[in-house]
Amino acid sequence: METGPLLAVVCLFMPMLSALLIAVLGGRMPKICDLIGIGTMGVSLLCAIVLGLGHATYGAQTWEFTWITMDVGWVTSEPLSWTLGITVDGLTTALLLVVTLVSFLVHLFSKGYMHGDDRYVDFYRWLGLFTFSMLGLILSDNLLTLFVFWEVMGLASYKLIGHYFFKQSAFMACKKAFMTTRVGDIGMFLALLAIYLYTDSLQFKEIFANLDMIPVGAQFWIAMGLFMGAAGKSAQFPLHIWLPDAMEGPTPVSALIHAATMVAAGVYLVGRMYTLIVLSPGALVIISIIGCFTALMAASIAFTRTDIKQVLAYSTVSQLGFMFTALGVGSNIAWKAGLFHLATHAMFKACLFLGSGSVIHGCHHLQDMTKMGGLRKKMPITAMTYLVACLAIAGFPFTAGFWSKDMILQALWAGNGHFDDVYKIIYVVLALAAAMTAAYMFRSYFLTFEGKPRDQHVHDHAHESPWTMTTGLIVLATMAIAAGYKWHDALLPNSPGGLEGVLSPIATFAKTFVIHGEGNEVAHHAHTIALYTSLTVAFGGMILAGVWYMTAFGVGLRQKMRAMIGPLYGWASGKFFIDEFVQMVFINTSIFFAELTSWIDSALLDGFVDGTGSVTMKTGAASGVADDAIVDGAVTLAGNSAWWGGALLGRFQSGRIRNYLFGAVASVALFAVVMLYIVAR
């Protein structure tokens, strides 16, 4: 094994080790489980950093492990070979860095935040398993293990969201998250089957080498199936409904799962399978439209939330929409923009979530922003880091968010030569969503940290969090700026560069696409326009929020505007009633069908069975000869051979050896006669 994959394997298995160790030792030494978690994640992070620094050497190293090779004559004449492996390329390395960093900081943060929790040990164990599955998902070089890790991650997130399972809302939330993502997984699973059917492999390498074996008609549906899975995990309309509810989980979990890792998995999947997805311009534009719609919709809902975590949740949905919008363009720069935004967003959103966690912790589990205000003086570090992250998400110049958002807009403006008009419209809508992002994020900042305290009691008891928590905030805030610079160019190059085998076949198979890259006339033009747009929307949004929430004039203005847009505000605050729609259309319908089948089962089938039973009994009684050899014999024969028919009737072995012998002899004879009959035919 080469150094790169070796590091990656160590990086991958450290969280697994943590989960195992905690499972074994946790009962006896609950005190040290946090140290185990933090220590192993530290090692993972180190490995990821070494991998990142040495990317030039380690990049594009792969390691394959042949699980089993079997001669199975019924599939192909070639022996069937199941190969699993890990691949270390630019994309992997970038995401490894992001995931391990956030996971490490969340482990550290939780030591303070979760202190004194009853299920502290369980929490760390599932955190370890979750990180393991996320890393495994990223490192997989094939869709099979990716899918397995994808599902394991679903399980781990189910346990983490439902950490406070004794609360009804948390219990419902984890169930909802699990079920909603499963809906997406159906599409993904079908896409996997189709891919295997056409290319005879689930390995990325093989799939991309055999893309021409997928018929044109199937390309669209495979792309849509993959996107459906991605939309489930990454909370895109209409499968986004689980994410805001999932805020019932502990806040560090929200930072880990709903900012940096699990929700990123969908974006990663689309990014990884990009070579296949770009084959279908129709699928691309649908992805872009759904992403853009989600971005706008979630941004408008975010305005109406007063719970600080809910704002962040909708903001996440909205930002994920940005990423899909970018990926939906289908050019190299778009690919880079989408994944770059994934990385930068992970940094500042994790910072925001942890910041909100720090606030919640400082205010004794208060989440309502309308009761906060003026917390900056009480919690200076939290406020400063939160502000930096807000600037980044708003796209303030020279923060990480500025670069990535700028790149997204640039990619949209450049288009891909297929539906450029549509992409222009999307561009405008997305710019609006970006402005709204800046506005609602600063709304949350102003409401929480600035102004006068609205609840004096809360304000008096608020306190800054311990170092375990603030460390993470500071690191992430630094990254919220630093992540925008150089490193991504090495890892996520514009041109296929470090992603041999991932993107290069685009050129061969999608000749119709204009590959827009740096230095190109169109791209340059797009760059200028995008720069102005993003500057405008960032400052516009921030100023708007400042006016609305920091000035006396703003209060009146807000009311006027609310009256002006009228019902729209009501819809947004009702989350556009998507949950109700789903409840009514899908859940109620399924319940109806379940009840219908249950009724059929109980009323019809049972009735039938009971009916036959009673008919037999009545016949017996009517004949008037209870001792009649035939009826009696037949009934008892059924009794004697209950062990035989019992499998279906629920009456099993009688335990009487006489009956066993009888049954054995009778059925052996029956077997013999039946077989002779078959043979004689």
Partner: protein
């Protein structure tokens, strides 16, 4: 003439076997069943004799009549209460048993009648006519069948150990 005599012997032994087997199945008292069984064993021994298996016929009488049947009688004597009416007489059991028995009979009859015995080479080559068979069996046991013959001693050992274990009185 000789063929007729053998046929006569075969059918009378067969009649004894089947008749006494029926009696053993139907008898009300278990002692009667046991004695009917003795007749069955003799009948089977007679059939062996008719078929030219002198050793088998003798073994049948020595082992079954002299051993198994006596064991059965001991069992009856040692059991505290053997009800006179030891068999539950219910028509439904007869029905069930008759169906099973009929099925078995049909299967066997089908198989046996479906085979062209007379054409099988090892039956027509006359190798089975040597009498007495004791020497043949002895030779076969120590040559071709050495392994099963020797390994049967382990079966007997296991049976002895097991009998001692299961029958041993005392605690546990």
């Amino acid at each position: 003439m000789e063929g007729l005599g053998i046929q006569l012997a075969f059918y009378s032994f067969a009649a004894v076997t089947i008749g006494s087997a029926l009696l053993a199945t139907m008898a009300k008292k278990i002692v009667n069943s046991a004695f009917a069984l003795m007749a069955t064993f003799f009948g089977v021994a007679g059939i062996y004799g008719v078929l030219g298996s002198d050793f088998m016929a003798v073994t049948q009488i020595v082992v079954y009549v002299g051993g198994i049947l006596i064991l059965l009688c001991f069992g009856m004597l040692l059991t505290d209460r053997v009800p006179d009416e030891f068999r539950v007489r219910s028509p439904r059991r007869y029905v069930g048993a008759s169906i099973a028995a009929t099925l078995t009979f049909v299967g066997l009859a089908w198989a046996i009648s479906g085979t062209a015995w007379a054409r099988l080479p090892h039956i027509t080559d006359g190798s089975a006519e040597a009498l007495p068979t004791t020497a043949l069996i002895g030779n076969a046991l120590l040559t071709d069948y050495l392994l099963p013959f020797e390994f049967a001693s382990i079966v007997l050992l296991v049976v002895l150990v097991g009998a001692a274990r299961v029958a041993r009185g005392g605690t546990r």
